[in-house]
Amino acid sequence: MTWTSWGISKSPWLYHVSTGSCNNCDIEVVDCLTPKFDVERFGGKLVGSPRHADVLMATGSMTRKSKPRFKRVLDAAAKPFIVAAVGTCASSEGIFHDAYNCVGPVRKVTKDVDEEILVVNIPGCPPRPEAIIEGLVNGLQKLKEVQQ
C-alpha cells in the first residue's frame, strides 16, 4: 500500500451534481450529513467545487440539457475520483427509459469522456441514506484497489 492510496478511501469529499433529478435523491444525499447517519464518521464532507471532490454524486436521469454540463464537471474534477450514480434514474434511467429528453444513464456519459472512470450505481427511488453511504465506502475501496 502506497502512502497516496492510504488516504483515498478514508476521506471522500462529496460534490453534488444534479443531472436532472426530481429533487428526491438530492434530499436523501443531504440526509447523509444529518446526525442520524453522519457521513463524517467516514471522513466525508460536502465541498463546493469539483476541483476538491473525490466523489461526484450524480442524481437524475441525465437530460439532454444537463449532459454537456455534467461533462464539464467531469473535466474539472481532479483525478482520481469516482462517480456515484445515486438513484434508479441515474443508474439505469428507471421510468425515463427511452424518453425523448433523456440520454441514458450516468455510466453511458462517463464512458464518452473516459473509459476508466469508476461508476458506483446506487439504485432506489430514492435510495436510503444507509445505501448511499455503503455505496460510497465500497466505491472508494474499489478505487483504492485500482490505484494499487
Binding site: W6, S11, S49
Partner: protein, 310 residues
C-alpha cells in the same frame, strides 16, 4: 550548531511538532463541532488522511490563471506560520527572545491570509477573486483591534517588546488585560477563518472562495497552513495574555490553557451564523477596536498612577 538548527526547524518547534499538534487540533475542531451537533464525528487521524489524499491527487492549473503566482503562493502560509511557531515556542520554554520579536510574529501571522488573497487573485475565477476581495476586507477589519490589544499588553508589561516578558506574567489578570484579551480572541477567530467570520470561504455562497480553483497538493498546502494556524494563533494568544508555558509541569499547564482557548473558539464557531462583509467590518471597527482602545487607555492610566489591577 547546524544540527541544532535543523532540529529546530524540522523536529521540535518546527515542522514535525507544528504539523502533529495541528492535526490533533484540527481533529478536535471537527470532533467538538460534531458533538455540539449531536453527531459522532471523524476518527482521530482524519486530517492526516485528508492531507495524504490531497497530496496524491492530480494538480490542475486552470486556463487563464497566472501560473507562477498560482504555484508559489500556497507555500507562503506554511513558511510564515512555521517561523512564527519556532519564535513563539522558543520564547516560551527557553526564554530566548530578541527585541521586537512580538512585532515579527504579528507580521508573520498576516502571511497565511495574504497567501489566500494572492492565490485567489491569481487563479482567474470570478468567485475566487470575490473571495480574495472579502478576505482583504476582513484583514483590514481585524488587524486594527489585534494591534491595539497587543499594544495594551506591551504597555502593561512595561514596554519591553519581547515575547519572553509577556510569557512570564498574566496580562489578562487585570481590567485592561481582560478587555484586550477579549478583543484579541475575536480577532483570532477571524484570522482562523472560523464562523462567524468565514466570509471569504463561505462554502454555501461562493463555494470555497479563493480556494475554488485549487486542487491536489496545492490545496493540501493551504490545508496544512490552516492546521498550523490552529496551533500558532491560540499559542500567540496564551503567550501574550495568559502567561504562556514553561518546561516540566508548566508545559502541561500550557497545554491545558491552549486546549481551553481552542475550545472557546470552536464553541463560538458553532453557535453563530456567518456575518456579511460589512457587518464584520462594523463589528471590528465599532465594537472590538473601541474595546481595545479602552483597554489601552486603562493600561496607560494604570501605569501612570501605579494601579496594577487597572
Amino acid at each position: 550548531m547546524v544540527g541544532r538548527l535543523v532540529f529546530d526547524f524540522f523536529v521540535f518547534p518546527g515542522l514535525f511538532f507544528t504539523l502533529g499538534v495541528g492535526i490533533l487540533a484540527s481533529w478536535l475542531v471537527r470532533k467538538v463541532s460534531a458533538l455540539v451537533q449531536w453527531r459522532v464525528g471523524p476518527p482521530l487521524l482524519q486530517p492526516a488522511y485528508d492531507i495524504a489524499k490531497l497530496f496524491g491527487k492530480e494538480n490542475i492549473i486552470p486556463k487563464g490563471s497566472s501560473e507562477w503566482g498560482f504555484l508559489i503562493v500556497p507555500l507562503l502560509g506554511p513558511i510564515g506560520l512555521l517561523l512564527a511557531s519556532i519564535i513563539l515556542v522558543k520564547a516560551n520554554y527557553l526564554a530566548t527572545a530578541f527585541i521586537g520579536d512580538v512585532i515579527v510574529v504579528l507580521y508573520l501571522l498576516v502571511l497565511p491570509a495574504l497567501a489566500v488573497v494572492l492565490g485567489g487573485m491569481s487563479s482567474g475565477n470570478p468567485l475566487s477573486s470575490l473571495g480574495a476581495n472579502r478576505e482583504l476586507r476582513l484583514i483590514a477589519a481585524y488587524e486594527l483591534p489585534l494591534i491595539l490589544a497587543v499594544t495594551t499588553a506591551i504597555v502593561k508589561t512595561g514596554g519591553g517588546l519581547r515575547l519572553a516578558i509577556f510569557s512570564s506574567q498574566w496580562v489578562a489578570a487585570s481590567f485592561s488585560g481582560a478587555f484586550a484579551f477579549i478583543a484579541a480572541l475575536l480577532c483570532i477567530q477571524a484570522e482562523l477563518g472560523f464562523i462567524p467570520f468565514d466570509i471569504s470561504e463561505a462554502e454555501t455562497e461562493i463555494m470555497g472562495g479563493p480556494l475554488i480553483e485549487y486542487s491536489g497538493p496545492l490545496l493540501g498546502l493551504f490545508k496544512i497552513s490552516h492546521l498550523m494556524a490552529l496551533l500558532v494563533l491560540p499559542l500567540f494568544l496564551i503567550t501574550v495574555f495568559l502567561g504562556g508555558f514553561s518546561t516540566g509541569w508548566g508545559a502541561l499547564w500550557g497545554a491545558i490553557k491552549y486546549v481551553l482557548v481552542l475550545v472557546v473558539l470552536i464553541l463560538i464557531k458553532n453557535t453563530n451564523p456567518r456575518l456579511r462583509s460589512d457587518q464584520a467590518l462594523k463589528f471590528f471597527w465599532y465594537g472590538a477596536a473601541p474595546l481595545g482602545l479602552i483597554a489601552l487607555v486603562l493600561a496607560v492610566v494604570g501605569n501612570l498612577i501605579g494601579i496594577a489591577w487597572l
